[in-house]
Symmetry: C2
Subunit: 350 residues, 2 copies
């Protein structure tokens, strides 16, 4: 608290990321990172870019990266916006596309950064409750609004909507922007990117931090109609001309081009997830149907918090949210087969 | 223009960075980059960080980097804020510390991103004219205000204020934040960082893009009282938990620790600048007294724009601002001795 702060700062309620402890080595199943290394091509591109040219500014438009993403999704460069992690992309989306007189809508149980952005940009927002079974029901969003954003799959519930449900929403909702936050889409859901040509108010946001194993590089992107992208570029160019460094551009572009490695990584995680779900179910956990690289599971006794603490004490980090409706659940990131076997064996002991 | 844009977006007037042409090789004296490569220690640290750990998020607090900066300037970690280039740091400063009812003050001829930020965050701002001789006169800022920001040395004029003038301002001005933007301070001006213990409203902003040859890595920082830093952390943690990737943290920390390399680089640039100023003066240019890694020079005939174009045609890029009062000047970055000799020889031909 200080007389020097802008008024806004006093009322901020910042996001709290998952723990990144430095005191000891944990089996880290708490921040939805990928257990597999990045594509060797991405690492090679990063090393190749890490030379004396770092004295020079990067390409402010990151065209190499935009082109790699556009090629992958068979869209145009003008459909792509890139940023310093999907969190930065989402921040610009909130400021540039989701601030209107009518309320912005998002699920009450969802990515907990949404209310933080709404507060930062003083956006009128309204939370739409998930159904009793934790489903996002897009029919519930048919109210006057200045924008809609939801993750697909949702977090921390891990449950996905089908493209048919998303297209049904778009068909009846042309008046404001619909943002589909696809951070986890590659682990079992369908991307809405093919719909952007048909719906100029659809924006899809993705990240390199999960399925492309590059959380430490900080790259995210958005795909949509060029009018939406132009708004984001205008905000970005009023904030930071060069959000992506030379290595971020080169590394992310190479990762995007290595389709085979990416698909292999996703398949391994999906296989490990199915094994984990089966084991947890056999141990009496209720596990929500997951299309993500994590599962959301209720222990048989509902004692999620004490179980979180006991796991931590035994060197396994998972994520616990002390919030209404979800405080009997744990969010467990899918690691390697070995990590999950170790986790399950600690769990069995407990 | 689109119905989907937030109202704000329609009125943005984004910053335009210096050209980064890809069509041919230029002698690039237009974006104030350092002509020398980064410290070998920085490159080594970047390569060491570019491995499979990139799958993991970086330290959201970038403590390694904060500690390296704190050590260098003999302050505490709590005095340091770091961000994705000093442009991002400045953006958070504008939003978190400089938005008040009374107007924010900055020089009329200065870093042209300031009015862009003021517009982005809808900050009431007032430009204070430079004196006839292009000096910033801090006495002119003794009016009711909600904050003051100025670069030292100023850009694009290259002229520096002494610490005595800055301390005189601080002594009579405790009621709002004073930001000294020291992007170019290492080339001949004095940093105000030693004053932060005495003046809790002083914030100093610096960058790794100029004197530390890391424009392509994207790292900047601010130094000030912990209360000011807390405001910036609150904004940052409402915007992006992880603005700096693993390589940015490791590379910038190593660069900061390599004091000898840094000092050698600065000395070489200063020597080349003095040689350049002498040659330009002999050719009839009026050159403002520079404490930066660039000079601001008026050609004898005042034909700056046509000279800019002619230089570009001959493969030399400098920066021309088509703005009142400075449209007869060129901003010329100091390159290597060889680059400046080539520039001067093209100039002599013209």
């Amino acid at each position: 608290m200080s007389q020097y702060w802008s008024k806004l700062v006093h009322n901020l309620d910042p996001y709290v990321p998952g723990e990144q402890p430095k005191d000891q080595r944990y089996i880290k199943l708490n921040t939805n990172e990928c257990p597999y290394p990045p594509s060797p091509n991405a690492l090679a591109a990063i090393h190749a870019a890490a030379d004396e040219r770092l004295r020079l500014y990067p390409d402010p438009n990151a065209d190499e990266l935009k082109d790699a993403i556009a090629d992958y999704y068979n869209v145009q460069r003008a459909n792509i916006f890139v940023g310093n992690g999907s969190d930065e992309v989402l921040a610009h989306v909130f400021q540039g596309l989701l601030k209107h007189d009518a309320p912005l809508l998002y699920p009450d149980i969802s990515y907990s950064f949404y209310p933080v952005y709404a507060n930062l940009y003083q956006i009128n927002a309204q939370q739409i409750p998930l159904r009793e079974d934790f489903r996002v029901c897009l029919g519930d969003y048919a109210v006057d609004n200045g924008g809609i954003i939801f993750p697909n799959p949702n977090a921390p519930t891990s449950m996905a909507l089908g493209l048919d449900a998303i297209e049904a929403l778009l068909q009846t909702h042309a008046e404001s922007v619909v943002v589909v936050d696809e951070a986890y889409v590659d682990f079992g859901a369908q991307t809405a990117i093919p719909l952007i040509d048909k719906y100029p108010n659809l924006l899809v946001v993705q990240t390199f931090s999960k399925s492309r194993s590059l959380a430490g590089l900080r790259v995210g992107f958005a795909v949509g109609h060029p009018d939406l992208i132009t708004a984001l570029e205008r905000v970005k160019n009023s904030f930071n001309s060069y959000p992506l460094g030379r290595m971020a551009i080169a590394g992310a572009a190479a990762a995007m081009r290595d389709k085979a490695y990416f698909e292999d990584t996703c398949q391994k995680i999906i296989a490990t997830r199915e094994m984990t779900v089966q084991s947890l179910t056999e141990m009496g956990f209720s596990v929500l149907p997951s299309a993500a690289n994590f599962v959301f599971a209720r222990p048989p006794a509902g004692n999620a918090e004490s179980l979180y603490l006991a796991l931590k004490q035994r060197g396994v980090l998972v994520r616990y949210f002390n919030k209404p409706r979800i405080n009997e659940y744990l969010r467990i990131t899918i690691g390697t087969d070995e990590e999950m076997a170790a986790f399950l064996s600690v769990l069995a002991e407990l």
